[in-house]
């Protein structure tokens, strides 16, 4: 193995935890979670949700920190090198390509969605969404996300905000770990929590509002929203769908199975704690999700549109909830345009910070891989990746409404996560060995993990992941592969093209890994 180049380190433990939590806290905490609770049994959803958190979420968090630090000590900041270090087999590095492929693919479309939050922060600030009724707000949103319907915004507007978002993201990552990513987390995470806390206080102290829906007059307040969200449906506990939805939500919210947590953890040293820091990261994310995310959108929407209206909004999807209903709520807040502006800026501002602290983490594995294996400098690597994100992200802007983005979100952002999580669990726990895994996790540990978790990580977590993968394959992956829901032959063509681009990215990364290993001295190429 060639001598490892000098690697940066996290500047402080709080910086590390904020960056890790920033990685985990994303748009899903504030938009996806409330919908999942409403659609899957209300309060009873929290039972499988917390069981999945304890049996899958926390173990995977520790596994990913452990895999990352183990690889980082060997000069490997991405999963091809990490898996190769764990399992001396020619296949290991190619399995690790998943941890390069998924973050790059998700980064590309995530930056596009993140650019919406920047755009809506601007629209809130300039009052562009004030005075719009439900139809007007929906049209305003549709015009932005569907270029063919771009009658309100010029076609260049989504491109402008996307380019700005990508520019900021890569300006941050080009500055490096401590001066870029850690500084962003130290600024962005407190702002996110302060904005969210102010909005939660405002929403929960709203006076009840009388709503007329379908000729029926009701008076609703924010507590009715919480009641709507958390009223238990005990029948849901017996449904496998609910258990898998809860496990899926834990997956998405903690950002496990992506490759980015491992990349961040690779900058730890052997003396650094990972047991308590990993747990603190997971717990911080849960506070952002359950306490803050659960107290914003649904209670606000129920107050102004009633339960029936909230159900319709929830069925319309997370983006309608965030970008159509919430601005409508802000327009109706007592205090007039100034309050509406402030609330809009805080809501979309917090979504932007939630997004950017996640997206910079997705860029890290690819940057680390190229720098470590091809000797590129950070700035050169960052701006090259930025150019790729801009080029491929533009395809999403053009073909968004024809299923282009949905394909990437499903195969890389959903199904792929479970596969990578399963692979890394098998490698770190079974191949590396449960005893080695346990010893590795406790190097420099500030707290001892209960022994019970050794059994959980060895048997329960892998079984959970296998069941989840099989269930998703039968229920979703096969119908998605066959495009059972395609609305037109044109959409089928666009979706196949979308898959073609993904396959091209995957093949290119496999080729890069092959090339990187061919450059290594023979002694290091034993695998």
């Amino acid at each position: 193995m060639p001598e490892s180049p000098p690697r940066e380190q996290w500047g402080s433990r709080i910086g590390l935890i904020l960056a890790m939590a920033g990685n985990a806290v994303g748009l899903g905490n504030f938009l996806r979670f409330p919908r999942q609770v409403v659609e899957n049994g209300g309060g009873t959803f929290m039972i499988p949700y917390f069981i999945a958190f304890l049996l899958v979420g926390i173990p995977l968090m520790w596994i990913e920190w452990g895999v990352g630090r183990y690889g980082g000590e060997r000069g490997q900041g991405s999963t091809p090198g990490m898996f190769d270090a764990l399992w001396s087999h020619p296949l290991a590095k190619y399995l690790g390509v998943l941890g390069l492929f998924m973050p790059v693919v998700v980064l590309i479309y995530y930056c596009y969605i993140e650019s919406w939050t920047m755009a809506w922060t601007w629209f809130s600030l300039t009052g562009a969404t004030q005075g719009l009724d439900q139809g007007g707000m929906q049209g305003f949103f549709n015009s932005y996300v569907n270029l063919e319907n771009g009658t309100i915004h010029g076609f260049w507007v989504p491109f402008l905000f996307f380019f700005l978002t990508v520019g900021i993201n890569f300006w941050v990552v080009s500055k490096g770990l401590t001066a870029g990513i850690e500084k962003l987390a130290k600024i962005g995470m407190p702002i996110l929590f302060v904005f969210a806390a102010i909005l939660v206080v405002r929403v929960l102290t709203l006076d009840p509002v009388t709503v007329v829906h379908d000729g029926i007059t009701t008076t609703q307040g924010p507590m009715d929203g919480l009641n709507f969200m958390f009223t238990p449906d005990w029948g849901a506990l017996g449904s496998p769908k609910v258990w898998l939805a809860a496990t899926g939500q834990i997956f998405f919210t903690l950002s496990v199975g992506m490759g980015s947590l491992q990349a961040y953890a690779s900058y730890l040293t052997r003396r650094d704690d990972l047991t308590l820091s990993g747990l603190a990261t997971a717990a911080t994310n849960e506070t952002a999700e359950v306490v803050l995310g659960g107290s914003l959108a649904i209670p606000a929407v129920v107050t102004f549109f009633g339960v029936t209206g909230a159900v319709a909004v929830a069925r319309g999807g997370s983006f309608d909830l965030g970008f159509v209903s919430m601005p409508l709520v802000f327009n109706q807040l007592p205090g007039g345009p100034l309050v509406a502006t402030a609330a809009g800026v805080m809501w979309f501002g917090l979504l932007f910070f939630a997004g950017i602290t996640s997206s910079v983490s997705m860029a890290t594995p690819a940057l680390a891989f190229v720098e470590e294996n091809f000797g590129w400098k950070r700035k050169q690597t960052a701006w090259t990746l930025a150019a790729i994100v801009l080029a491929l992200g533009s395809l999403h802007i053009v073909y968004n409404t024809r299923g282009f983005l949905g394909e990437w979100d499903y195969w890389a952002g959903t199904f792929g996560l479970v596969i990578l999580a399963l692979v890394e669990t098998v490698l770190f726990v079974w191949v590396f060995g449960p005893d080695n895994m346990w010893k590795e996790l406790h190097q420099g540990a500030a707290v001892q993990i209960p022994l019970f978790y050794k059994v959980v990580m060895t048997y329960v977590t892998p079984v959970f992941l296998i069941v989840m993968m099989l269930w998703w394959t039968v229920q979703e992956a096969i119908p998605t592969l066959l495009m059972a829901d395609a609305k037109s032959p044109e959409e089928v063509s666009v979706r196949w093209a979308s898959r073609g681009v993904m396959v091209a990215i995957l093949l290119f990364e496999i080729w890069l890994v092959k090339k990187a290993w061919a450059r290594r001295p023979a002694t290091a190429r034993a695998s």
């Binding site: 935890i17 009641n227 009223t231 238990p232 506070t287």
Partner: protein, 44 residues
Amino acid sequence: MTTPALLFLLGAWTFVLGLTLWCFWRLMKSDPEHEKLPPPGTLL
């Protein structure tokens, strides 16, 4: 709010807030010398 909904809400909040506060309390309590972190920006 109905009692069952309130119980689920309070249970969920207590769990996550309790876990978060405990983690940060332990982080503050743990000896910084234990890890001997170098100054920010240090290259290994």
